[in-house]
């Protein structure tokens, strides 16, 4: 029979041990040609709290998407100021995949994101404001509805408001009704806004019975 068994431990990739597994050794491995070796180095670096600035710097030049994913996950684990600001920088990237991956990671960091979310919601770039609303989707924070109401009351960009209404149709309460009705007046000739506001209002009213 062709089935064999060997101790699984024997098949550990030798590459992993090609440099010392201390902080300096691991940092060196961030420049290794093999993406898998870089991934392993990042996963081990994630246990060193001082690694966040090194990883944030690597993120700027790393072009392999699986390695970037590992860096984002490591930064999420540190969740210090350096990491959070590196993640926020990704929101401004020209690369859609990096932006979207950063949004996903930031969604999992409610405590770190809550203090900066208001800044993001007031960013000059409308796409960043949309991403900030996306992040609110899973931010378990008591102010989520208040922030969303403020967005639809004040933001001039139609897609930022539309994204906020989408979320209000899930989390909105009676408190959002006035703002939603005002928004519909503000964008009266935009069928999408009318559609999404009506849907949100219908859900809020039905939920309150």
């Amino acid at each position: 029979m062709a089935f064999i068994k060997q101790k699984t431990q024997q098949s550990i990739n030798e590459d992993e041990r090609s440099a010392p597994r201390d902080f300096d050794g691991l940092c060196l491995e961030l420049n290794h040609d093999d993406a898998q070796v870089r991934r392993w180095a990042i996963r081990d670096l994630a246990t060193y709290t001082q690694a966040s600035s090194t990883l944030a710097a690597r993120l700027k030049i790393e072009d392999n998407s699986s390695v970037r994913t590992a860096i984002l996950d490591a930064l999420a684990k540190f969740s210090d100021d350096i990491s959070v600001s590196a993640l926020v920088d990704c929101l401004r990237s020209d690369e859609a995949s990096l932006r979207n991956e950063a949004i996903e990671v930031l969604k999992s960091e409610p405590e770190q994101v809550a203090p900066i979310i208001e800044n993001l919601l007031n960013d000059s770039d409308s796409d960043v404001r949309i991403f900030a609303v996306n992040i609110l989707e899973s931010l378990q924070h008591q102010n989520v509805e208040k922030w969303l109401i403020s967005v639809i009351n004040n933001d001039s960009h139609i897609n930022v408001c539309a994204t906020a209404v989408d979320l209000l149709s899930e989390v909105g309460t009676e408190n959002a009704v006035n703002a939603l009705e005002n928004l519909k007046c503000r964008f009266a000739d935009e069928p999408y806004i009318c559609f999404t506001v009506d849907l949100a209002l219908q859900r809020i009213r039905q939920g309150d019975h």
Binding site: A2, F3, I12, Q36, S65, A70, R203, Q206
Partner: protein, 280 residues
């Protein structure tokens, strides 16, 4: 008697949420089935209305409530040759693709997680013996792991109920099993063919030595994890695979809810996920 009701809009809202979280889509014909289970959870959690239950569900950090719902909404049973189309895919498409690219004659490594009581790992071994024409040209390692030591020793014993083997052709059953003690005992050769190990796939230290797999089967497990654990598990599987290796998920599961690391590949028999080849 319950007087909780689920309105059309509640249903739609729940349907969207559940779809986003799990990838499971309910047809409207399933309405009665879904409502019944939702009402059961609403009452058991002492939520007064659908709305208050839904708020709890959305903001449940632990993911426990969602998991309870997933358990209720899906039926998880393990038996021989379950989702057989994936084993067909293994012998007709996956292994030929891998062996065509392979540059040495090192063993092909297959990992089946979770092992549960062993049906999947043994099914793979039987399927290879019965249906893979190149079986004699390659060495194959089948490793099957679970977090639960009790279920592992059950898997190692290899004694199964009639229900568990009911999908096996009679010829296959008589070839690899003998009827003893009111059940079907798998033969010693097959018990020898699979290595069962205990591992917690969420522990980086424990999975560190699991490497270089060509094929990983992880069916109907990740669906029970929360978003973050699911993502971590996918990362771990990615690192445990060779470049160009393939991963098979359960039929109602999709990488679209889990990770962007893998490429979607369609073979005639199934959709599978590939760790990109080096240089891509």
């Amino acid at each position: 008697m319950s007087n909780t009701t689920i309105s059309d809009d509640d249903f739609l809202k729940f349907k969207e949420f559940f779809y986003r979280k799990t990838g499971i889509q309910f047809e409207n014909s399933k309405r009665y089935f879904v409502d019944k289970r939702l009402i059961e959870r609403i009452e058991e959690t002492d939520s007064k209305t659908f709305r208050s239950y839904f708020v709890k569900l959305r903001f449940d950090n632990s993911g426990d409530e969602l998991q309870k719902l997933v358990n209720l909404m899906t039926v998880n049973e393990t038996y021989f040759f379950r989702e057989e189309y994936q084993f067909k895919c293994l012998v007709n498409s996956i292994l030929p693709d891998i062996t065509r690219r392979k540059k040495d004659d090192s063993p092909l490594r297959i990992w089946s997680v979770p092992s549960s009581s062993g049906e999947e790992a043994y099914s793979i071994a039987i399927y290879l013996l019965e249906h893979w024409k190149d079986i004699d040209s390659w060495d194959i390692e089948i490793i099957s792991s679970d977090i639960d030591t009790q279920i592992i020793s059950q898997a190692q014993k290899g004694h199964y109920s009639a229900r568990s083997v009911q999908n096996l052709p009679a010829k296959t059953l008589s070839k690899y099993f003998t009827y003893t003690n009111g059940g079907h005992q798998i033969c010693a050769d097959l018990r020898e063919a699979v290595e069962f190990t205990r591992v917690n796939i969420m522990s980086p230290a424990e999975v560190r030595s699991y490497r270089n797999f060509d094929v990983i089967f992880c069916r109907n497990l990740l669906i029970y994890f929360d978003d973050i654990s699911r993502r971590q598990a996918a990362e771990m599987f990615f690192d445990a695979m060779k470049s160009g290796g393939f991963m098979c998920l359960g039929h109602s599961e999709s990488m679209s809810r889990i990770s962007s690391l893998f490429r979607v590949i369609k073979f005639p028999e199934a959709i599978v996920y590939q760790k990109p080849l080096e240089g891509r």
